[in-house]
């Protein structure tokens, strides 16, 4: 985050792309888009385009990673080389390793891993076009792909960020807001309980701004949750069991 910046990002209560402070970018989700994967989802969030696929539960390879008490969940966040302006060298960098780690931990809270001991559930997310907020988009898509694969879960996980620009707490930072803003707080929640399973923050925030950001991000997450459920309903033509 750039610290205090003179770039004007809000004018007359509107953000550069016309959104209100508490307004999400357009989000579109489609479940079941790939032939080979056991479950999949395509998600557009603003200009972000991500694809998530799930394989498993399946045999654990290499075998010594196997856990007799529960399934092992792996998560691979990957950016296509052409997804960003400066071509990204193929293969994992440190940023994607970190995102993969905390995203796997977030999903472990809801997936009923203990039902599938000695197996592996693999989640793959490919970012095809990136424009701020890809970790939230990826995790949101992954959660739909898990449901599409029929993996039993306590609930979906849904992610959304809030941030601070021009000293104002706003929802879902866009690209220039991410570049010139003052703080970003991506979170992921379990919608039915409001529990927070992923949370990062960078920039600078007072205690009050932080609580505002948390509350706003939860609110945004709940809106995206509706779109997740819609996508699954469209796919399965019925009512999703909300347990």
């Amino acid at each position: 985050m750039g610290g205090v910046s003179n770039v004007p990002l809000i004018k007359d209560g509107k953000r550069l792309d016309g959104r209100k402070p508490d307004e999400l970018r357009d989000v579109r989700i489609e479940a079941g888009v790939l032939e080979r994967a056991d479950g999949s989802a395509y998600l557009e969030w603003g200009s972000n385009k991500v694809l998530a696929a799930v394989y498993g539960p399946q045999e654990v390879l290499p075998k010594h990673l196997s856990d007799p008490t529960k399934a092992v969940l792996t998560y691979r966040y990957n950016m296509a080389p052409f997804s960003v302006d400066d071509r990204k060298r193929p293969g994992p960098d440190r940023r994607s390793v970190e995102i993969s780690k905390i995203s796997a931990e977030a999903l472990e809270k809801v997936v009923l891993l203990e039902q599938f001991p000695n197996t592996m559930i693999k989640v793959f997310v490919e970012v095809l076009q990136a424009e701020a907020g890809t970790r939230c988009a990826a995790l949101t898509a992954a959660s739909v792909a898990l449901a599409d694969a029929g993996i039993p879960m306590r609930d979906l996980v849904v992610a959304c960020a809030a941030g601070k620009i021009n000293d104002t707490v706003v929802l879902d930072l866009g690209k220039s807001e991410d570049n010139f803003g003052q703080a970003d707080v991506p979170i992921a929640i379990v919608p039915h309980t409001g529990e927070i399973v992923l949370m990062q923050m960078d920039g600078d925030l007072t205690r009050d701004e932080y609580t505002q950001a948390l509350d706003l991000a939860v609110k945004g997450s709940m809106q995206v949750y509706e779109l997740q459920k819609d996508a699954l309903k469209r796919r399965y033509g019925g009512v999703v069991d909300e347990q």
Binding site: E35, R36, A80, S83, D85, R87, G91, K122, E126, L128
Partner: protein
């Protein structure tokens, strides 16, 4: 032998059986492609891109343009570099990590089709001889593998370079902003892949046919019935006549493919 291997053996026997009686699993004719969908500019932020689907196989090709040093033996020519990731999303057989032989072969066969057709006018990509030229970074991202990657990836790639626009270049700096100038592309190479199963030969193999095949041959052509690259694969063999016949068929099918561009 894992259960997956066994299921492929069963499937492979079935395919061989079907093919012997002149049939394909999805009732296609031997010289018939599955439905093809081509989406130019699929990644609007990229300088060039396309999504190609043949059947359920999906490949995205994206083009990045960077400035680099030319090769000493062609100091005034741009450079093409083709990379390929067979990301594990696309198939349970694909694994993370550095490209394995199938990914390397795919990238090199697609690259050869484009390079040897002289589709890109590399001499127009020189900025300063010996010092700076445009490098065309073509990246293939396979999202769903349901057979015939070569033809799908080549269609996506040719479509992507055809819609590639140049970035701005000012005061020795690349400005990441699109111009109206297009990448100079003067040919439209496409590739046709055939597999031989028993003694039958068919175009556009499905996933099951890819697995069951004895041998595979791919021809890259440009317009005007000119062959510019070829690659045989698989542990089986072709007769001379089979290679000539599949080349003849290639000239026919390539025209159909080229119409999609």
């Amino acid at each position: 032998m894992s259960s997956e291997d066994i299921s492929w053996t069963v499937s492979s026997d079935y395919i061989h059986h079907l093919v012997k009686s002149g049939q394909r699993q999805d009732n296609r004719k031997m010289d018939e492609y599955r439905p093809i969908k081509l989406v130019p500019g699929y990644i609007p932020n990229a300088f060039g891109s396309a999504l190609c689907k043949i059947g359920n196989t999906q490949v995205v090709a994206g083009v990045s343009l960077v400035v680099g040093t030319p090769y000493p033996d062609s100091p005034a020519s741009g450079v093409l570099m083709t990379g390929c990731e067979l990301v594990p999303m696309a198939s349970p057989e694909f694994e993370s990590g550095p490209p394995r032989p199938p990914a390397v072969e795919l990238a090199r066969v697609v690259d050869r089709g484009i390079r040897e057709s002289h589709a890109i006018e590399f001499d127009k990509l020189c900025i300063e001889p010996k010092e700076a030229v445009w490098m065309v970074m073509l990246d293939l991202h396979v999202l769903d593998y349901d057979g015939n990657l070569f033809d799908t990836a080549t269609l996506a790639s040719t479509c992507a370079i055809l819609n590639t626009v140049m970035p701005k270049y000012e005061d020795g700096q690349v400005i990441r902003e699109k111009t109206k100038e297009k990448l100079p592309v003067v040919k439209s190479p496409v590739e046709c892949t055939f597999v031989k199963i028993g003694d039958k030969i068919m175009v556009d193999p499905s996933l099951e046919e890819d697995k069951a095949m004895d041998a595979r041959v791919t021809f890259a052509t440009t317009g005007g019935e000119v062959l510019c690259a070829a690659q045989k694969g698989g542990s089986g063999a072709f007769t001379r006549q089979e290679l000539v016949d599949t080349l003849d068929m290639t000239f026919v099918k390539s025209k159909e493919l080229r119409k999609l561009l």
